[in-house]
Structures are given as structure tokens and as C-alpha cells.
Chain length 227, copies 2
């Protein structure tokens, strides 16, 4: 049997397949991509293994053969995309740190946090659906995913530490809360929420222009931190 059963171990061999959007039409990859899309659009519980395999054009048993279970499939998509997103964020934070002699200003820290996911959100971006998946998985995921989100804050701590250095005058508690607020702003960017915004503004407001959305969020969050 080829699929590894220990899905939790993140430090392992070179991750042979996927990684690109669709290198070859190997079954495992077809399942991965189809599942990510369906989970993102309809939620984990509302998508059956039969839905996934039908959309991918593969046999029903493929999910259990290649991933072990439906839960493990969800977790693997979640893990892979999270690593990918956090890598982009960490890279941007690192660059900002270099640019500012070890302690970048709040604006740059927030930009490192928000730019990658918002770029993914662009209508023609290859990872648009992945971001929607991640937002959904955060609140609708399995207990295992919720446990990881709860306990693994190592990635988040990079940013809270940077913010603590940028604003040593603020109480750490205050920093944590404001970071929490900022992430709330970000995670609220689901497809459904945009629709309401569109109705409210009678059609003049659209999420199409991600760059200006990013700027708006940065302005708002930076001002919040400056308070």
C-alpha cells in the first residue's frame, strides 16, 4: 500500500506529487483537486465521497485507497494549503524584517500577514478556491483540524512577536486582541459575505479588485493598531 498512514507527520520525504496545480492526471491528484473545490463551495459535510469521485472522474474507492478516509483527505488538503500559505507569509515577513533592520513597522507586518491570502483571492488566481477552502475548513473542519488551529500557534507567534517589537508601548494582551481582530476581518471574506456587500451597496461594490481591498484592509487595520 503506497499512501502513508501518518498524515500528521509534516516533516518527511519530498512530497512527490501534486504541489503544482495538476501535474499529470494521476488519480490521487484528481481527487485532491476535485475535493478541494467541492469542499470550498459546499462545505465538508455537504459533499460526499461519491460527489468527489464523480467530479474527479475516478472510482469510488479512490479516496479510501489514496488517502485512507474522507477525514484524512480533508486534513491533507488543509495541511498542504496551510503550509503553502504560511510559507508565503513568512517569506514576506522575513523580507520586511531585512528591509527594516530587524523590526519592521506595523504596516509591513500586517502586509506580510494579509497580502498572500488576499492575492490568492483574485478572481483569476490559481489558489482562489484554496483560500475559500481554508476559510471554510477553519470553522467547519473536523475535530483534528480544530485541534491543530487551537494549539499550533507557532506561525502566528512570528507575527505577534514582530508586532510586540513594533509597538513596545502596547500591552501584549492588547496586541493579541488586535491581531485577533485583524484575522477576523480576513476570515470574513467568504463568497457569501461578498454577496451581501454587493446588495448593500446596490451593486457598486465588488470584490473583483483585490488590490484595493487589500489596501482598504491595511488602512483599517493599521489605524486600529495605531489607536
Amino acid at each position: 500500500m503506497s499512501p502513508k498512514s501518518d498524515v500528521a507527520a509534516a516533516n518527511q520525504a519530498p512530497e512527490p506529487d501534486i504541489e503544482g496545480v495538476d501535474n499529470e492526471a494521476v488519480t490521487k491528484n484528481l481527487v485532491f483537486v476535485a475535493a478541494e473545490r467541492l469542499f470550498a463551495l459546499h462545505g465538508f459535510q455537504n459533499v460526499s465521497v461519491r460527489d468527489i469521485t464523480a467530479a474527479a472522474g475516478v472510482n469510488l474507492a479512490s479516496v479510501n485507497y489514496h488517502f485512507g478516509s474522507k477525514d484524512a483527505l480533508l486534513y491533507e488538503i488543509f495541511r498542504r494549503r496551510t503550509v503553502e500559505l504560511n510559507r508565503e507569509r513568512a517569506k514576506k515577513l522575513h523580507e520586511a524584517t531585512d528591509r527594516h533592520a530587524g523590526s519592521p513597522p506595523v504596516r509591513e507586518i500586517l502586509a506580510a500577514l494579509l497580502t498572500p491570502p488576499l492575492r490568492w483571492l483574485a478572481p483569476d488566481h490559481e489558489r482562489r478556491i484554496s483560500l475559500q477552502f481554508l476559510i471554510r475548513a477553519r470553522s467547519e473542519g473536523t475535530d483534528e483540524i480544530r485541534q491543530v488551529l487551537k494549539t499550533d500557534v507557532t506561525h502566528l507567534r512570528r507575527f505577534s512577536d514582530a508586532l510586540l517589537k513594533a509597538r513596545p508601548d502596547l500591552a501584549p494582551e492588547e496586541i493579541y486582541w488586535r491581531l485577533h481582530f485583524t484575522l477576523g476581518m480576513l476570515h470574513n471574506n467568504r463568497f457569501a459575505e461578498f454577496d451581501r456587500l454587493n446588495v448593500l451597496s446596490e451593486g457598486t461594490t465588488s470584490e473583483a479588485d483585490v488590490e484595493s481591498l487589500l489596501q482598504r484592509m491595511l488602512v483599517f487595520a493599521e489605524a486600529g493598531f495605531a489607536a
Copy 2:
């Protein structure tokens, strides 16, 4: 048959039961309360009709007899709690409008929007579980609920209109986005999210003190609007 089938019609007779937390141990009310709690804690899809009726100590058929279906039960809880919350918000906004001769400042508008739900969040508040339910229903609800959230923005428009008057210098589009951001901050306050915050701050940060959380959010959001 006593239960009304037209759940969507909100303008109707005096709503004889429930409304208080538990007036008499009538079956319909027991189901309502048990379902709200279980939905809030575990999500709609993860709670079966059998779970609900078992927790309520009533017969399995009660849900379908009193509410028509599981979906209709969810919708009725959602509708009742939404009306209740929005009434409190509208009252506060109205009071603020009176106090400030027709156009309250941003701070007061945001307070009217955020104070009721955050008060509900207090550990000993009778509506604590209701707020968690509403937050969950917003993203995990049925298509019908999502449709209502999408199209019915009349309640939200009261607040966007007030904000437009308070900040006539800002483009309406900007107002809508910032309102969207503020709501994102609010809706991110789920049980699970607090846990992460707790881990990040190594136990020093807790959601126990809702009043200071409210103040923090108001400071942050007001500063965002002032940018």
C-alpha cells in the same frame, strides 16, 4: 395540526410560547432550547434529530410534529434570535440618534451594533449560547438562511445610513467595506477562536471580561473608521 407551515412570514400573531428562556416545560420549547444548544456547540450537520430529542427528553417525532422538519427548526431558531438581536441593536441606535439630534458619531453607531451581541457573550448571560448559534448559522446554515443573510440587508442599512451621515466625507463604498470589516471582527468571536488566543498569550488572555473586549473592539473599529 398546530404548527404553522409558513415559517418565512415574520409578521404574524403574538408568538405564544418560548420568548422567555423556558416558560413551562412544553415539548416545543424543550426541543427549541436543546436544538439551539447542540447546533451552537457542534454544528447543524453534526447534530441529528435523535440527538436533539434525546437531549430534550422528548419523543423522536416531536421535531417533525412541532416544526415540520429539521431544516425548519434551524430556521425558526435563527429567525427568532436574529429578530431579538436586531431589536436590541435598533433600540440602541435609536437612542443614540435621539441623544445626538439625528446624527450620532461613529463611536455611538458602532456601539449600538456591537454592544448587544457582545453582552450576549458574557459567560453568565442567558443568550450566550444563542450568539454562538447565530455565528455558526451564518456560515453553516441551510441555503435558505444563507439566502436571507444575502438579500435581507434592511437591518444593516440602518447602520450604513447612519455611518454615511456621520462621515459624509467618506465614499459610500469605503463605508460599506469598513462596516464589513467590523462585522468580520465580531463574527470571529467563536469559542474555538478564543482558545487559540489563550494559547498564544500563554493563558493571560481570556474572553471572560466581555466589557473590556467590547471596549477594545470599539477602539479598534473606531480608529479604523477614522483613518
